[in-house]
């Protein structure tokens, strides 16, 4: 719809709608005409008939005015309402004012309370700060203590009065393999392998107040034994009552190992020293006996021939005949002794007999045949075992035969007074050696005697029954073979002689050495 623009000059201001309805607008005013012209699209205002105008424009204008008045009425009404509302607002405002004042008072009270609280809070704050600093100090002290404990490489633990573990350091966990939790609450003595000794130590500690360098062994979780040196002191409260124990334990494994190694070295040194002494003794004895034996040979040959000559020219009825027979027999014994001396001193056999490859078992068989009569007569139970794969060795057969013979004869001698008569011969390979051992169930050899058994002329047998050369000869012959002869014996538990003979050719080595 086309908009109607009403002239500003149009006098439309009227007080009431009634007035507006009653009013007649003078038509032929120029402004109205113009207005009507515009509204009605009329070209010629002169042709506008009043009636028509009244009917159309008047009516319209009245409607417009009515609308305007209605709006004005609504405005006035609204204004009234606003007025009423304002009054209400004022009333409420007054009420609020009162309420506000009350609140203000309450607020002030609260403020005061708040200030009090503030003060209290500040006090609390300062107390808290003090506490905080105390706690921090304590924490620092605690951390320091813990660091001290954990930086130790030794076991450090504390117990309560009854000996139950209350704390341990890191080293304890590391050494024992147990976690702290597993240890705390356990009785201290159970921590050690020697529980009785540990308990005794703890008891001593409680009496004496301290314990130092007490040897114990910690058994780790993995079952390994760790030797420790245990030191401890009692903990007391201000009233001097014992509240617990503080113990440290140092792992002395390395120390022990070093001690053992040192001991081993000392033992080895002693052994080699005694070997040197023995070797020196044997050499000196060997040289001397060889000289003596050689010097004795000539006169003995003379004596033997003189006696045999006399015997030849003495009648068997002559009472001197048997005396001469005795003399001949004894001289032959002397000859045998001298022969043994020469064998012992190695002056005799060297260069005579060549080395050959032979099995020890075959040699033992021969020796057993030689001794079979004695073995049977003396009711000795002889057992023999040769391990499979025992190799033949390079040896001078006669020498080894003599060694076996001497050792078995000695074993038989040892069983003479023994109730249990058993000999066991065992042969097996032992690395680069063949080991032949002769074990008897005889009376054994006391340690003080065992040291001397290889000395020439040392014997425990009655005079005239032995020369004391048997084992010296064995020793000497085995040494020639670059072997070893060892004696293991416990008084009452029999004796075992071990002969170790190298499998390699000893002769070749010997020549290299020479």
């Amino acid at each position: 719809m086309r908009k109607v623009k009403t002239s500003r000059n149009l006098k439309t201001r009227i007080a009431t709608s009634r007035e507006a309805m009653d009013r007649k607008i003078p038509a032929p005013t120029s402004s109205n005409i113009h207005h009507g012209h515009l509204v009605l699209g009329m070209r010629n205002v002169n042709h506008i008939e009043y009636e028509l105008w009244e009917q159309d424009v008047g009516e319209y204008l009245r409607v417009v005015d009515k609308g305007r008045l209605d709006r004005a009425n609504r405005y006035y009404n609204a204004m009234n309402n606003v007025q009423k509302l304002l009054m209400e607002v004022n009333r409420r405002s007054a009420e609020l004012q009162i309420a506000n004042e009350e609140m203000q008072a309450t607020n002030e009270e609260m403020q005061a309370t708040n200030e009090e609280m503030q003060a209290t809070t500040e006090e609390l704050q300062s107390t808290n700060e003090e506490l905080q600093s105390t706690t921090e100090e304590m924490e620092r002290a605690n951390a320091y203590r813990q660091t001290l404990m954990d930086s130790m490489t030794d076991i450090l633990l504390t117990t309560d009065q009854s000996g139950v573990i209350t704390d341990v350091n890191t080293a304890t966990e590391l050494i024992s393999g147990y976690q702290k939790d597993e240890l705390i609450g356990q009785p201290l003595h159970q921590f050690f392998a020697e529980q009785d000794r540990a308990q005794a130590g703890i008891a001593q500690l409680q009496v004496e107040g301290g314990l130092s360098n007490y040897d114990l062994t910690v058994v780790t979780k993995a079952g390994r034994e760790v030797p420790v040196s245990f030191n401890a002191t009692v903990l007391r409260d201000p009233d001097n009552r014992i509240t617990g124990l503080l113990g440290t334990a140092r792992d002395v494994t390395k120390q022990k190992q070093a001690e053992q190694e040192l001991q081993k070295l000392v033992d080895e040194l002693r052994e080699s020293q005694s070997k040197v002494i023995q070797a020196g003794k044997m050499t000196a004895m060997g040289t001397m006996t060889a000289g003596v034996a050689h010097e004795l040979n000539n006169p003995m040959m003379g004596i033997l021939n003189f006696i045999q000559y006399s015997l030849k020219h003495t009648s068997e009825d002559d009472r001197r005949y048997t005396v001469l027979q005795d003399a001949e027999r004894e001289t032959k014994r002397c000859v045998e002794i001298v022969q043994n001396l020469l064998t012992f001193s190695r002056m005799d056999t060297e260069g005579e007999e060549d080395y050959q490859k032979e099995s020890c078992a075959a040699i033992l068989d021969r020796v057993l045949k030689l001794l079979s009569y004695r073995i049977e007569r003396e009711k000795v139970a002889l057992t023999q075992h040769t391990a499979q794969g025992t190799p033949d060795i390079w040896m001078r057969v006669n020498n080894i035969q003599q060694v076996f013979f001497n050792l078995l004869s000695n074993a038989l001698d040892a069983l003479k007074t023994s109730e249990k008569k058993e000999i066991h011969v065992d042969m097996h390979r032992e690395g680069e050696f063949v080991e032949v051992s002769f074990a008897d169930s005889g009376c054994g050899i006391p340690p003080e005697i065992r040291q001397k058994i290889f000395d020439p002329f040392f014997t425990t047998k009655p005079v005239g029954q032995a020369t004391g050369l048997g084992l010296s000869i064995c020793h000497s012959l085995i040494k020639t073979h670059n072997g070893e002869i060892l004696c293991e014996s416990e008084p009452g538990a029999g004796t075992k002689f071990k002969v170790l003979l190298p499998i390699k050719k000893a002769k070749a080595e010997k020549k290299q050495n020479e």
């Binding site: 000539n298 040959m301 003379g302 004596i303 033997l304 021939n305 000559y309 020469l342």
Partner: protein
Amino acid sequence: MSKRILVIDDEEAIRKSFILALEDTAYQVDTAESGEKGIEMAQKNNYDLFFLDLKMPGLNGVETLRGLREIDRDVPVYIVTAFFKEYLDELKSAEGEGINYEILKKPIGIDQIILVTTGILEGAAVY
């Protein structure tokens, strides 16, 4: 003429032993107390057998053996000794030069002396 034996040994007991042992045999036993004396006697007489000691003052057994072999290359020489290691090398080198000898081990008794002597001189199969 009976066969002759020379015993060269510095030990009287040994020399006597041979004399006594062979007393009842048909052999003639001479003795010399040193190597020098033995060689001297060997030059003068013909011996069928020598018993010779090794360890003697003056000429030792091996040196005496060489002397004897200069006189006679083939007559049997028995070295009677208890101990010959000391002379082993010398003996070996003598052996290398073609000097032959036998060894008898001291001490030997009367029966062995007779046995060895008759064995050598009569060629009897005693061994």
